[in-house]
């Protein structure tokens, strides 16, 4: 399915804004001195400063699979990227960051329904992980947007805004 270029761009920007701090936390497990992120996030100050997204990976296997997935994603091998994360879920089935990342990959694959469900799964596990839930609601908003569910997208946006404002 074709994703309107404009909508895609918007989504990318928003996701990157909240993703990169999270990913840095994950990558740090493998590499004590992570490379600076290749793309500067379009920083929206409050989230970056918050630092609440911490993907604490105490599992080496999850960290390695995450890296594999990221590598595949950079090479646009989305199937491999998804497979690696699904393998990571075997190790850590209730890791909300894994579910959220899978949601995003599915969104890029045009699997909007799957993406929304994965984001909801992540939300149910994210507890106090406010920024992660914010990000999940953005994914849900985008998924509903692509499906033409304007009302649903608006509701998702409200949820996201609520989280963004820290309530």
């Amino acid at each position: 399915m074709m994703i309107p270029a404009k909508a895609r761009l918007k989504l990318r920007t928003l996701l990157l804004a909240v993703l990169l701090p999270a990913l840095a936390g994950c990558a740090a497990m493998i590499d004590p001195e992570p490379e600076p992120a290749p793309e500067e996030p379009a920083v929206e100050e409050p989230f970056d400063a918050d630092g609440a997204i911490r993907h604490t990976v105490d599992n080496e296997a999850v960290a390695m699979l995450w890296e594999q997935s990221e590598e595949a994603r950079r090479n646009e091998e989305f199937r491999s990227a998804i497979s690696a994360l699904e393998r990571a879920l075997q190790v850590a089935p209730e890791d909300p960051v894994l579910w959220s990342r899978l949601a995003e990959l599915q969104l890029e694959q045009g699997e909007h329904g799957v993406a929304e469900n994965f984001a909801a799964r992540s939300n149910a596990l994210a507890e106090e992980h406010r920024l992660l839930r914010y990000r999940n609601w953005l994914i849900i908003e985008a998924a509903r947007d692509y499906r033409g569910d304007d009302e649903g997208a608006r509701e998702a946006r409200l949820e996201a805004d609520r989280l963004r404002e820290g309530s």
Partner: protein, 735 residues
């Protein structure tokens, strides 16, 4: 002249009849390549909850050979808890892995480290076990091979010893037949064969084993017909898959694929020269040359094959000599796993039919990657075999079990009956039996989804209860123990499986509300809900109940139960991807509360027998018993697996077992060896824990140590009371 004409007419008519048979029979089974079905690969990573025994079993199952120093792929060396392995390259659902050198060290029941050839920490996998070869549309399980997959040495040896002129004749060798006939006449009986491979195929494929002239005649005509209709490659391939190579009880071992497994427990393409020669030598008489019973005879026969290979120049004399100095290397029968997993393969076959286009499945040589976990499957099989032998040595009872991943719905084990390796009625998929109290969590989910009305501390009424069904009929649910307990907290009503309290609760909520909750869990009966369905009067299969409990296990997220990870075509390209699917199906917060009640079931309720053995695992589960003890159910889960066990009789007569007396024990036996994980914490964000006095309906200070501590959806907790004093708790004594 007339006699010659009659003979010609006779031969012609016989040929036509046999030719018709050749066409209909042989063409039907024309060797379309079957789909190969694989288990999960075995993942190895630091910290994994896995014992060295599981790795050793998996290596044996996929035919790795123990050696001092691994020098070739498919070999491993074990010293204590450290394994050095030369892994094979393999394909898998996600693309697979290359061949690697790895070292795996265990510390107790855990993987302590995994290192690659350079000593760096790594993730590794051992290839999946091939568990079956199936024709997607047919109920058959054979290990078929394609001609191009057959080792060259095998063909060389076969032709050298059985039929050196195979590529030149037209099905029969008149001179050989003549020579055999003369020898037979001299001996006064049939002693000499002289059959071509084509004749042998005809014999194996169509005819009985009797040795008569008439049979030899038919065989020759059929051989001619085969050669006329099919080319040499097709005939050779059919021969490779038909040839009789042994007898395993009632099952005959046909074909080199199965033969390699039966005698060496390895894939055919991994056999060495001396092993191939042994297999080929068996053709003349698998029971006479039985390498387990008569190793010396088998050795001599093997060496004859090697010699004849050298005569044809396919190998040189030195190679023949070297091979004949090798031991037989046949593995003991008990180490061979021949029958695969028929109940699991059955599920795979059906889900292939459901989720893939028939036209895609018609392709040759599909590879089906499944979620079967040999460890879970073995645990389920052993649990059923062991418990059934103990509960019912005479064999009237039947059983079934399903294990799945709690979060992804990946089905890891299926057992369809107490004869765990026999194909046949697959009770896990087809025995639709009344579920009894296994349905109750839906009633309580419906209640707890209304936090303004119901919490775990809400007092329910377990006094006798009569429902007017209209038309002069009424329904009065009875409790299993024959007693009524009066008022008790909702959590205990579910944990102790109180029928009167549950039915009354269900009627108060309304059948439609409960029906909706059952629907959320994927367990709604096809008809509209009747009052008796509140207590599980409707029928479900063990697989369906596993699906229902999976939603609870995953905190309200439904993941369809699936056996198939992915299907690849011959070129390794995936057919439509069968990706992970989850769907929010029930409110996570309410599910969290139901899960807590089902934990209470294990702590103090009807599944109390599990409290000891699973003390540190925090499992949740539910017993189910139907009228007159016809069905004994248990469904339960932790944060990793969800599993269901059922025991009952095929004729639906009373089995004499309650859920807690029968299925619970099977469930416990199969879950105990599996790695554990804490229950899902989905929805936990909406939960707060409080000390309460359910009878007074009051929240108490935290220091009131003898008060119940229960989870509540935030805001639904009862009003606060600073006074610790609780009224005497009426704890029912019966589990």
């Amino acid at each position: 002249m007339l006699a010659a004409g009659a003979l010609c007419a006779y031969v012609g008519a016989a040929f036509l009849i046999l030719d018709h048979r050749v066409r209909s029979d042989f063409d039907q089974t024309q060797w379309r390549l079957p789909a190969r079905v694989y288990s999960q690969p075995l993942d190895l990573y630091r910290g994994r909850d896995l014992s060295p025994g599981v790795l050793a079993d998996h290596l044996a199952a996929v035919g790795y050979r123990p050696v001092e120093v691994p020098t070739a792929v498919g070999q491993f060396a074990r010293s204590g808890d450290t394994f050095r392995i030369r892994t094979r390259a393999f394909e898998a659902a996600d693309g697979g892995d290359p061949a690697r050198r790895i070292e795996v060290r265990f510390a107790g029941e855990r993987v302590a480290e995994v290192r690659d050839g350079d000593g760096a920490a790594t993730l590794a996998r051992i290839e999946p076990e091939r568990i079956a070869s199936i024709f997607p549309g047919r109920a058959e399980d054979r290990e078929l091979i394609a001609l191009e997959d057959a080792p060259g040495r095998l063909i060389d040896a076969l032709l050298a010893i059985e039929d050196r002129t195979f590529h030149d004749h037209h099905g029969i060798r008149p001179t050989a037949i003549l020579r055999a006939a003369i020898a037979n006449i001299r001996a006064g009986a049939t002693v000499q064969g002289g059959s071509t491979l084509t004749q042998q195929l005809a014999k194996n494929f169509f005819l009985t084993g009797e040795q008569t002239l008439r049979r030899k005649f038919d065989e020759a005509l059929m051989a001619l017909s085969l050669e006329w209709r099919f080319d040499k490659a097709e005939i050779l391939e059919a021969y490779l898959n038909e040839v009789y190579l042994g007898q395993d009880g009632p099952r005959s071992i046909n074909g080199f694929g199965l033969g390699a497994r039966y005698w060496f427990n390895r894939p055919l393409d991994e056999l060495e020269l001396h092993e191939i020669a042994l297999l080929v030598g068996l053709i003349r008489g698998p029971s006479y040359y039985d390498a387990r019973a008569y190793p010396e005879r088998a050795r001599q026969r093997r060496d004859v094959v090697l010699q004849s290979l050298a005569e044809t120049g396919a190998i040189d004399a030195a190679a023949a000599r070297a091979a004949s100095e090798r031991p037989l290397d046949v593995v003991p029968r008990e180490r061979v796993r021949l029958r695969g997993y028929p109940a699991y393969a059955d599920l795979v076959r059906r889900q292939l039919g459901l989720h893939y286009d028939e036209s895609d499945l018609r392709g040759d040589g599909l590879r089906v990657y499944t979620h079967l976990d040999p460890r879970a499957q073995a645990a389920a099989e052993e649990a059923i075999e062991g418990r059934l032998a103990e509960l019912d040595p005479d064999g009237d009872l039947q059983a079934a079990a399903v294990i799945a991943d709690a979060h992804t719905g990946a089905v890891t084990a299926v057992v369809g009956g107490r004869s765990v390796r026999s194909a046949g009625f697959n009770r896990a998929l087809d025995a639709r039996r009344q579920v009894g109290s296994l349905a109750k969590p839906a009633v309580y989910l419906a209640a707890l989804a209304q936090p303004e009305r119901y919490t775990l501390a809400t007092q329910l009424d377990d006094r006798p209860f009569t429902l007017d069904l209209g038309g002069g009929e009424s329904w009065q649910p009875r409790n299993f123990d024959g007693h009524f307990l009066g008022e008790l907290p909702l959590i205990d009503a579910l944990a102790q499986s109180r029928n009167a309290a549950s039915a009354r609760l269900g009627m108060t909520l309304g059948l439609e509300t409960v029906e909706a909750a059952l629907d959320d869990l994927g367990g709604r009966p096809s008809h509209g809900l009747h009052p008796a369905d509140l207590l599980g009067a409707f029928g479900r299969t063990p697989l369906e109940m596993t699906a229902m409990y999976q939603t609870l296990a995953a905190g309200g997220f439904d993941a369809p139960l699936s056996s198939i990870a992915e299907v690849h075509d011959t070129r390794g390209q995936p057919l439509t991807r069968h990706t992970l699917r989850v769907r929010p199906a029930a409110p996570s917060g309410a599910v969290f509360l139901v899960n807590e009640a089902l934990r209470e079931t294990v702590r103090s309720g009807t599944a109390q027998a599990l409290a000891g053995p699973f003390a540190d695992r925090g499992i949740a589960g539910k017993t189910g018993t139907t009228n007159d003890l016809r069905d004994s159910w248990f469904a339960g889960y932790d944060g990793r697996h969800v599993a269901t066990a059922w025991i009952g009789r095929d004729d639906a007569l009373p089995a004499g077992l309650s859920g807690s007396a029968g299925a619970l024990h099977v469930w416990a036996d199969m879950m105990q060896p599996l790695p554990a994980a804490p229950l899902s914490r989905a929805g936990a964000a909406a939960i707060e824990w409080f000390r309460v006095d359910p009878q007074r309906g009051r929240r108490l200070p935290e220091h009131c140590s003898d008060a119940r501590r229960l989870p509540f959806l935030a805001g639904s907790e009862p009003p606060y009371d600073g006074n610790c004093r609780t009224r005497e708790q009426r704890m029912p004594t019966r589990p």
